[in-house]
């Protein structure tokens, strides 16, 4: 135990103080959020920044004031009468951003408005001008039919369904969208973490082997202690990284609302472009639900379990090879095992209580990802969680036992790449 602890400490300190670790730990959340949010942010910022001046050739002679009423801050509608000379030429010369032609038949529900511009205004612009014109025409035609104010209001009403979850305490705002998102994020995090930390373990073993430092190490410690010390040391590093990100994310949750709002196009919900954040979130039926502490506990437990299982196997692969190129082909079966649950993540998230989802989330090699996804999205029975975790732990112990035997022989084998038969022989020999 003492030796495992000494090696754990050494591995941990060596890695945590590396520039790589510090940079990734601090910058990864910024980068990820940046990549996710930046496009939306840019669209909103750039779109909001300029006002379009549009000259309107209004053959109906009634729609222009309505357009002006709907315009908001993004549009200035100018009557064609105020312009001297040819309208299209005025647009081409840059006097206006665009020309909107409203044919007279529009009032009778026929004809089509046309917008001319020298350059495309982009997707957001298209839907905005569409909505403004549609609303103006709709209101005008309702009025023409002498419909009462009551009916007009009915037409303008937007009904949205409020989604609620029944809980022990009554009802709570439904968080399906957010919970699914949380499930995906947690699942993918475990996936990436297992792959990255697992291959760090593998590379560490290969480095020990190629540098021959392992020769000295095994004259002082049992190979098993060396293996466990390394796996636990890198695992501890992973936990620190995870905790740091956790803190950063909690801090970031304060602005989570604005983040979510960036993903929502106001016109999808018939809201103005200047709709407030709260209105947007409400329209999309998004509330930021609190994440249950038990979910976080299970997430950390499954992250650790999955990491330990895969890392010990990656260590065995590292012990078997001496070249990084060989490591690629040897670790492929292992990498495939990590990828399989990712292939099932969507069906499992869609119906987290289906037989398929329950079954897959009990399989030890898949449970670290799929059980966490299920636990995030739905209420998983405790016995399922416990059974799944128990199976994972049993498999981990078995994997360590097999790995340690391959590792013991492998770390002292140099030269040619071993075959699968060799690995079996090493296992028996140890």
């Amino acid at each position: 135990m003492r030796n495992i602890w000494i090696i754990l400490k050494s591995e941990f300190i060596r890695r945590v103080r590396s520039v790589w670790f510090i940079v990734i730990t601090l910058l990864a959340p910024v980068l990820i959020i940046g990549i996710a949010v930046l496009p939306g942010l840019l669209t909103v910022m750039l779109a909001d920044s300029d006002t379009k001046t549009v000259v309107v050739d209004d053959a109906t002679e009634v729609l222009l004031p309505r357009l002006q009423a709907e315009a908001g801050e993004r549009f200035v509608f100018t009557p064609a009468a105020a312009v001297e000379g040819e309208l299209r030429a005025a647009v081409r010369s840059g006097q206006f951003d665009g020309l909107l032609e409203l044919p007279a038949e529009l009032r009778d529900g026929e004809g089509q408005p046309t917008y001319y511009a020298t350059e495309s205004g982009g997707l957001a612009f298209g839907s905005q001008i569409n909505r403004i014109v549609r609303n103006a025409v709709q209101t005008q035609r309702l009025e023409d039919q002498n419909v009462g104010a009551e009916v007009q209001r009915i037409f303008q009403e937007r009904v949205s369904v409020e989604l609620l979850t029944l809980t022990d305490e009554g009802t709570a705002a439904d968080g399906t969208f957010v919970y699914t998102l949380v499930g995906y994020i947690m699942g993918f995090f475990i996936y990436v973490a297992v792959l990255i930390y697992g291959s760090m373990v593998m590379m560490g073993v290969i480095e020990e082997k190629t540098s021959r430092v392992v020769e000295v190490m095994v004259s002082s410690v049992k190979p098993f202690d060396l293996l466990m010390g390394k796996v636990l040391g890198i695992g501890a590093m992973g936990l620190v990284q995870l905790a740091t990100w956790g803190v950063l994310i909690l801090g970031g949750a304060a602005v989570a609302g604005s983040v979510a709002a960036f993903f929502i196009d106001p016109s999808d919900f018939d809201l103005g472009a200047d709709a407030s954040q709260e209105a947007l979130l409400e329209a999309a039926s998004i509330t930021i639900p609190s994440i249950a502490p038990s979910l976080i506990v299970w997430f950390v437990l499954f992250f650790l379990g999955g990491y330990l299982l895969y890392a010990s196997l990656y260590a065995a692969v590292g012990a078997a090879v001496e070249q990084q190129q060989d490591a690629q082909s040897f670790s492929l079966p292992l990498t495939m095992l990590v990828i399989i649950p990712i292939l099932f993540i969507v069906p499992v998230a869609d119906s987290p209580n289906s037989t398929l989802a329950v079954g897959l989330s009990l399989v030890p090699f898949f449970s670290p990802i799929l059980m966490v996804v299920r636990a995030a999205i739905t209420d998983v029975a405790f016995w399922q969680l416990a059974l799944s975790y128990g199976l994972l732990m049993v498999t981990f112990v078995g994997a360590v036992w097999v790995s340690a035997r391959i590792y013991r022989v492998g770390i002292l084998m140099y030269g040619k790449k071993p075959s699968l038969r060799d690995l079996v022989r090493w296992f028996q020999q140890a």
Partner: protein
């Protein structure tokens, strides 16, 4: 009682018997040289002594007890295949290895300072290992081996890669350790190095012990049948003697020749031939044959001829 006893030890790897009923012992205050070409089974034997592997048959006793994790702490092993953690500083590296041998951090730190000083490397403590040259790394590794003050020190080719000055320093320290009562094991395929240092030898070939015992005794068993000559002129005077199979040349240069006397040729025959054939003779000495020659007499081949083709890779050579 001998500190270390290797008793009838056998280690097999698949079809190859790497170590075949090997027995020898090593005593405190003496240096035992384990000699033999690559693939003779030296490293496989050492790995069983250091409890990295366990024998298929036989036993290894340290102070009368079978070796195990307990004995690992009291042994220092400098493997032939050397390496250090590149990303660790020299001080951390030494601390790690010392701690694994059971040393307390503070003790270890003081000793590290002492030995770095001794090796003229006091300012290396905070240097990253990857910044050191190969020779420097080797010194660090030697320090790591002796730092925990082990009772048994095993050095596998300790001089390879060292410049003459550092090799000399290393030799001094080895002799100091011997004087302090350590048991030293010194494995090498370079016989001439061993002759200068060892008290006892154990010659190995193809997994078996060919001969062992105190160096002097072993050499005396072979008698004084070797002649060393230093001269000015051409070594061609030896050619007729070689042609008549009266002598065999061990090595020869333009000024120096070492020959083995065959068929009871008296040493003076060589001297006479030399006096007749060269301008002058500076040195003439009748002596015991060098170890490599003894090896040849016993195994039938010189150690160099037996070395397997591949680079010295212990595991591969025995797997």
């Amino acid at each position: 009682m001998a500190t270390l006893q290797v008793r009838d030890v056998v280690k097999r790897y698949r079809t190859v018997t790497a170590v075949d009923h090997v027995s020898f012992s090593a005593e405190a205050g003496r240096i035992l040289g384990i000699l033999g070409p690559n693939g003779a089974g030296k490293t496989s034997t050492i790995r069983m002594i250091t409890y990295i592997t366990t024998p298929d048959e036989g036993e290894v006793l340290f102070e009368g007890q079978p070796v195990g994790p307990w004995s690992q702490r009291r042994m220092g092993y400098l493997p032939e295949e050397r390496g250090l953690y590149k990303k660790l500083k020299v001080g951390e590296q030494l601390l790690l290895l010392a701690e694994l041998k059971g040393l307390a951090r503070n003790d270890a730190r003081a000793r590290i300072r002492h030995w770095l000083d001794r090796f003229d490397a006091a300012d290396w403590f905070d240097k990253k290992t990857e910044e050191l040259s190969k020779g420097m790394q080797q010194k660090v590794q030697f320090i790591a081996t002796i730092l925990p003050e082990p009772d048994l020190i095993i050095l596998d080719e300790p001089f390879s890669g060292l410049d003459p000055i550092n090799a000399e320093l290393l030799k001094d320290i080895i002799l100091e350790l011997k004087a302090s009562g350590c048991t030293l094991l010194f494995a090498s395929h370079r016989m001439e190095q061993v002759e200068q240092l060892c008290d006892d030898i154990c010659l190995m070939a193809e997994g078996k012990v060919v001969v062992d015992g105190p160096l002097r005794e072993v050499k005396q068993r072979f008698g004084k049948d070797t002649v060393l000559l230093e001269f000015a002129g051409s070594p061609a005077f030896l050619d007729p003697l070689v042609a008549a199979e009266r002598v065999r040349i061990i090595n020869k240069t333009q000024q120096r020749a070492e020959v083995r006397l065959l068929q009871g040729t008296p040493p003076r025959k060589v001297l006479e031939a030399a006096l007749a054939g060269v301008e002058d003779v500076y040195r003439f000495e009748v002596m015991t044959p060098p170890l490599a020659e003894i090896f040849k007499s016993l195994v039938g081949k010189r150690p160099e001829e037996m070395a397997r083709d591949e680079a010295p890779r212990p595991a591969e050579a025995t797997a």
